[in-house]
């Protein structure tokens, strides 16, 4: 009974990891970017967040008083033929209303100027650190776009797989008797260091 269960646990542990290798690689590399952001920013001339204007259109008197920012953002993106996952900054009563249109390759910034009646479209400079960090921070099921929900599902599977790797890893460690003592020392060492940092930072 036990060897058979262990075999299944070992196989699921392994095949899940092989399947999720691209996700783990993405989270690893993007975490390194976050942890060394200042250095990596300097590699790109001190600014990773440059935008270049690629389009400007007239967009006067577009919305009535009862239109919400969410509805307005959706309509602007549809009018520009750019519908897709996005988030918004500001509101329609200010001088600027910004829609950040997310995509894998580069972020697009759409700015609506209600008073001036125009819309500009800017593309973020495409580079690897930006792509990685954007992938890292995308999550959730709140957006209605199917692609975004599928990404959220990928995030969900990866996070649950990591929890499974902990549980299955501890199980497998316990089945390897010669590794029990050093495994326990490593586990206690890690837990001790984590507790010290948790209570002192």
């Amino acid at each position: 009974m036990a060897p058979s269960v262990t075999r299944y646990v070992r196989r699921i542990h392994m095949y899940l990891a092989l399947f999720l290798t691209p996700w783990i690689l993405m989270y690893t590399l993007s975490s390194l970017v976050f942890n060394h952001f200042g250095t990596i920013r300097n590699w790109y001339g001190g600014d990773l967040n440059q935008y270049e204007k690629v389009n400007e259109i007239e967009y006067a008197d577009a919305f009535g008083a009862d239109v919400t920012p969410t509805e307005a953002a959706k309509q602007i993106l549809l009018d520009l033929d750019m519908d897709g996952s996005h988030f918004i900054r500001g509101n329609l009563k200010g001088e600027e209303f910004t829609i950040m249109r997310q995509s894998t390759y580069q972020m697009k910034r759409v700015i609506y100027y209600p008073v001036e009646g125009r819309v500009t479209v800017e593309n973020q400079a495409a580079n690897l650190p930006n792509m990685l960090t954007r992938m890292h921070i995308r999550h959730g099921f709140e957006q209605k776009y199917a692609s975004m929900r599928l990404w959220g599902l990928g995030v969900e599977i990866t996070s649950l797989a990591m929890l499974f790797w902990i549980a299955s890893g501890v199980w497998l460690w316990w089945t390897i008797k010669p590794a029990r003592m050093w495994g326990a020392i490593c586990a206690l060492g890690g837990l001790g260091l984590f507790a010290v940092l948790l209570f002192s930072i």
Partner: protein, 199 residues
């Protein structure tokens, strides 16, 4: 060859055992972020701060960020507030010093309107602790503990790379799992990059 196999196997295992707390934090907090609305309801309200003390205070604050940091450091030291790293912001109404402890952050506000210096502590919340642990990175302002945390973040990243390399090696050493392994890798790569194309 058997030795290399054992070294890879043990490295894979012991690294995992040591990093269990961090992997748990990153995995569970990612799950929480993926279900933002649900876990947001479990967080204390934005104004859930308990006042520690309030003092009369009057000072013309410097305008440069460097001098403002020096002023904040002096305030924290004079009031015996332990702060390895802190942030300082000012606006026309107030100057705000924030000390981001994992468990219960502290903030000190200098209100210009009534010349008061107020120290407050955030209400404890396991949800917020998990998120603070997730978001903390970098080597931080010279504080040894912050530096250690940043270093551990790097260790976790390197560990994931080691797990990928040793995992692939250990998979390859079990010949009868190769076909299913290739299928898992192929399906993972196709689904991941397929998603990137449609996003």
């Amino acid at each position: 060859m058997k030795n290399i196999n054992l070294i890879f196997r043990r490295t894979h295992l012991f690294l995992g055992m040591f990093l269990v707390p961090w992997i748990f934090v990153y995995a569970f907090s990612t799950f929480m972020l993926n279900h933002g609305p649900t876990f947001r309801e479990l967080r204390p309200s934005p104004d859930a701060w308990t006042q520690l003390w309030e003092k009369d205070y009057s000072e013309d604050l410097p305008h440069s960020q460097v001098e403002l940091r020096e002023w904040a450091g002096t305030i924290l030291e004079e009031n015996a507030i332990k702060a390895g790293a802190f942030g300082i912001q000012r606006n026309p109404q107030r100057a705000l010093i924030t000390i981001q402890h994992f468990l219960r952050p502290v903030r000190v506000t200098y209100r210009f309107s009534d010349n008061k210096l107020v120290a407050e502590q955030r209400e404890g919340s396991w949800v917020e602790v998990m998120l603070r642990l997730h978001f903390r990175h970098g080597y931080g302002q010279g504080d040894p503990m912050q530096w250690t945390w940043g270093f551990i973040v790097d260790v976790v990243c390197v560990a994931f790379l080691v797990w990928i390399v040793t995992g692939l090696y250990l998979w390859w050493k079990i010949p009868h799992t190769r076909n299913w392994g290739w299928l898992a890798i192929g399906a993972g790569v196709v689904s991941f990059f397929g998603l990137l194309v449609v996003l």
